[in-house]
C-alpha cells in the first residue's frame, strides 16, 4: 500500500489527499498536489483517494514577493 511522495515511499494509500495532507500537518492552502503527473484540483482534495503505486509530488509555496 505504498505511495511515492516526493521520491520517498510512504504507507499512505487509502487516504484522501486532504487527510494525507492534514496528517502531515501540511499547510493545505499553500500546496499544489500532483498525482501521477496530473494536478489534483483543490476542490477534489476530499474526493481523491491515494492508491498503491501512486506517485505524488507536493509543490509547496512560501510567502514573500
Amino acid at each position: 500500500m505504498m505511495v511515492t511522495v516526493n521520491g520517498q515511499s510512504e504507507d499512505v494509500a487509502g487516504q484522501t489527499v486532504l487527510d494525507f495532507l492534514k496528517a502531515r500537518k501540511a499547510p493545505v492552502e499553500n500546496i499544489v498536489v500532483e498525482r501521477n503527473g496530473d494536478i489534483v484540483h483543490k476542490a477534489e482534495f476530499d474526493k481523491v483517494t491515494l492508491e498503491s503505486g501512486d506517485k505524488i509530488e507536493l509543490i509547496s509555496f512560501v510567502g514573500g514577493g
Binding site: 500546496i31 499544489v32 509543490i59 509547496s60 512560501v62 510567502g63 514573500g64 514577493g65
Partner: protein, 214 residues
C-alpha cells in the same frame, strides 16, 4: 511633421532603445503578451525588466495600493504612496519605455476570475506575496490554461546567499524561481527579491525567445 518622443525623432528613439538587445529578439519580444499577477516586490521588478527590453504587451494585476513599507523593495516612489500599485507602476513603466501597451486591473485574483484575466496572456507570471494565492493560481492555471507557460516565485526572503535562488522546471509549462524555503516573515529586501524577480524575468524572456529549458 515627424512624431517626436522627448524632443527626438520617434524612430531614432524606438530603434536606439533596442540597440543593445540580443540579436533577432526584438520582433518576438514586441509580439509577446505577459500578464503579471501581483505588482509588489517581484511584479514591479519583473515588469520593469520586461518593459526595458520591449515586451510589447503587459497586463498588470494587483488589488493593493502603495505603502511606505513597500519602498524597501518595490519599484515605487515616495510620491506614489497611496496610489493603486498598478496605476503607479504603469506610470513608471511608461517613463522607461513609451512604446509598449500596458493594461491594468486593480482587482484580487481568485479562482473565479483567472479564466477571464489571463485569457489573452502568452505567458502567465505569478508575482504574489501570499503563498495561498500562489498555490491557487497554479491550481487554476493548470485547469484553464494548461498550455500557457506559468512562471512563479517562492522563497526570496532574508539575507541568505544569492546562490540558493534557482529556477526549477518541475512539470511541463511550469517554472518556479526562488530558494523554496525562506519565508516573508524573515523580512524582504530589494537585493534578494530582485534576484528572484530577475530569475522570473529571464525565464520569461527565454520562453519568448524559444528557449524553454532552464
Amino acid at each position: 511633421m515627424e512624431a517626436q518622443v522627448q524632443g527626438q525623432d520617434y524612430k531614432d528613439v524606438y530603434y536606439g532603445m533596442k540597440e543593445r538587445n540580443v540579436k533577432d529578439s526584438t520582433d518576438k519580444l514586441t509580439a509577446a503578451h505577459v500578464t503579471i499577477a501581483g505588482a509588489g516586490g517581484l511584479g514591479s521588478n519583473i515588469a520593469i525588466a520586461l518593459t526595458r527590453i520591449g515586451v510589447g504587451h503587459l497586463t498588470l494585476i494587483d488589488f493593493d495600493s502603495v505603502e511606505l513599507s513597500n519602498l524597501n523593495r518595490q519599484q515605487f516612489k515616495l510620491s506614489q504612496v497611496g496610489m493603486p500599485k498598478v496605476t503607479a507602476l504603469k506610470q513608471n513603466l511608461q517613463e522607461f519605455n513609451p512604446f509598449i501597451e500596458i493594461k491594468t486591473f486593480q482587482t484580487k485574483v481568485t479562482h473565479d476570475n483567472v479564466k477571464e484575466l489571463f485569457a489573452d496572456a502568452d505567458i502567465i507570471c505569478e508575482a504574489f506575496d501570499n503563498p495561498a494565492a500562489k498555490a491557487m493560481l497554479l491550481d487554476a492555471a493548470s485547469e484553464f490554461f494548461p498550455d500557457k507557460p506559468l512562471v512563479m516565485g517562492t522563497g526570496m526572503a532574508g539575507i541568505h546567499s544569492s546562490n540558493t535562488i534557482t529556477t526549477k522546471h518541475p512539470r511541463a509549462n511550469l517554472y518556479i524561481a526562488g530558494d523554496g524555503t525562506s519565508m516573508g516573515a524573515e523580512g524582504l529586501m530589494a537585493p534578494r527579491v530582485m534576484i528572484a524577480a530577475g530569475h522570473e524575468a529571464n525565464m520569461i524572456t527565454r520562453i519568448i525567445l524559444g528557449r524553454d529549458d532552464i
